[in-house]
Symmetry: C2
Subunit: 304 residues, 2 copies
């Protein structure tokens, strides 16, 4: 299976702390890097955790609050200064371009480097990115301003051939390709060998769902059902659920309940309010309900 990981670059909510930068994450599928959100200092965190900013070609922005976007001007400028060529694709609310353009007005190094903004639809789930290995869809969330999550799904893997058998039977190349896609093998004598006798079972397709900033939302359950890894914000402990409700955030307990109901395999909680000196009360509260919960800490890496 291809290496597939999520690295937390920032795990704080609105106010950064000495140990937590604001929200940003790198999804790395086989050294193709996808950035989710870009709080202030993201370029510094990328450097700290060993990612080359110039390798990022796709950025996904959940919403336009400052703690999710104020790292963009610096990141884009540094990409340009670093000699990045070609296109950087940013998927976000359509207003982002109007916020960024004035800031990048004085950049002198953007001749061969173009930022392309893709407006997101915040009303319904939508496919927003696709390549050979992966699809990325938006997940509508409920915050004070338009906001969505993102779900990364590996595409169905090709079947792997039972090599020795395929060689022994001298199966032609074009039939091998068909076998990988699930076809049975029609021999020259007119008989058929069923696909499963010539291939191994498919590797499972892995999936990662990122959900911040939002009220806990039952509507996302069918979308995130059974994902390998769910990141869900948990800004507060449940004793502050009224504040969570008022500010359109989720408590650790509520995130754990969602993870449990959706049958996800592993839960990461993050976007912690700066009032918490460490993550322990939030993780303890979530684990009481969903034991396989881990805290997002800056620099943490989760392999799928």
């Amino acid at each position: 299976m291809l290496p597939f990981s999520v690295t937390i670059l920032g795990s704080s909510s609105a106010l950064p702390t000495l140990s937590r930068f604001p929200t940003s994450q790198i999804v790395n599928l086989n050294e193709k890097l996808f950035l989710i959100d870009c709080g202030e200092g993201t370029q510094i965190q990328l450097r700290k955790y060993g990612f080359k900013a110039g390798k990022i070609n796709h950025i996904f922005i959940s919403h336009l609050h400052g703690d999710h976007i104020f790292g963009l001007p610096g990141l884009i400028s540094s990409m340009a200064l670093g000699g990045k060529k070609g296109e950087l694709h940013i998927y976000s609310h359509s207003e982002l371009k109007m916020m960024m353009d004035p800031l990048l007005k004085f950049m002198e190094e953007m001749e061969d480097f173009k930022v392309i903004y893709h407006p997101l639809n915040f009303r319904s789930q939508a496919l927003i990115y696709e390549d050979t290995n992966l699809t990325i869809e938006s997940i509508p969330l409920k915050h004070r301003i338009p906001c969505c999550g993102f779900i990364f799904r590996e595409k169905q893997h090709e079947l792997r051939l039972r090599g020795e058998l395929v060689e022994y039977l001298k199966i032609p190349i074009r039939d091998r390709v068909s076998l990988k896609h699930g076809a049975d093998y029609l021999k020259s004598d007119g008989t058929t060998i069923p696909n499963n006798e010539l291939t191994f079972p498919r590797d499972p397709s892995r999936s990662y769902a990122f959900c911040t900033d939002t009220l806990p939302r039952k509507q996302i359950l069918p979308v995130i059902k059974g994902v390998d890894l769910l990141y869900h914000e948990s800004t507060f402990c449940d004793d502050l659920k009224d504040l969570a409700l008022k500010t359109y955030h989720t408590t650790a307990r509520q995130a754990a309940e969602l993870g449990g109901e959706a049958g996800v395999k592993k839960l990461i909680i993050g976007h912690f309010s700066s009032r918490y000196k460490n993550e322990k009360p939030l993780v303890d509260e979530a684990r009481a309900i969903f034991p396989n919960t881990f805290a997002a800490n800056d620099g943490s890496r989760f392999d799928l």
Copy 2:
């Protein structure tokens, strides 16, 4: 004398490194904080080095390149979230407001907190700020876009009275005030005691000049003449003086020559290109010409 210090929050040039954030400094005169430039991550550096962002009411921006301003939206947002009330004054090129306003559009906590932009004149030296203890003037510099430095000058101190003598002579309060301002003392018998017999010499008025980003500029010599502390950018060593010229920057050698010609007491160099692994070659080069040179490192504090 009042405590008067400069703390370096960021000392890198355009690209931040793992040990250097982009340009920002705090001038602290008796716990009144003045921020100069505000590169990305300034709010994080303030927290790291023990300054309360909410205590800053005056920010001076040398020019509109990203490495000097991209920390502003996050800093302003965090001030608002932290409950800052009243006015924040920002002195900068007039376009800054147009760059910041779209970014702060979604801030919901700015009801009792107002940002006031003061446009700077980049053509001639000008008084831009004054209070009981201090004046701040702009210093025209020469960069690729309009740019200026800032000079902080303590006002002339009041004279300190020779207490025992003043008591012995039973000098009335209103005459003591006049003495502090330099008047001689007219006794009731019509004779006069000269001021210098009743007061100590004035404490010297200290001064700090901040000059970045710029070509080396002889025109600033009369302005910075004899300052206690000069910060001058030294982006490159002198072997890259052609690149310095092309990019409108200064070399360590050139900065040291300016400091020497101006007869400053101490020189700080900074705004180092990220190509230098450490500051040693730059400091060595400058010290060969101006021995009392120190490197700006993030967190360094210089007391005047």
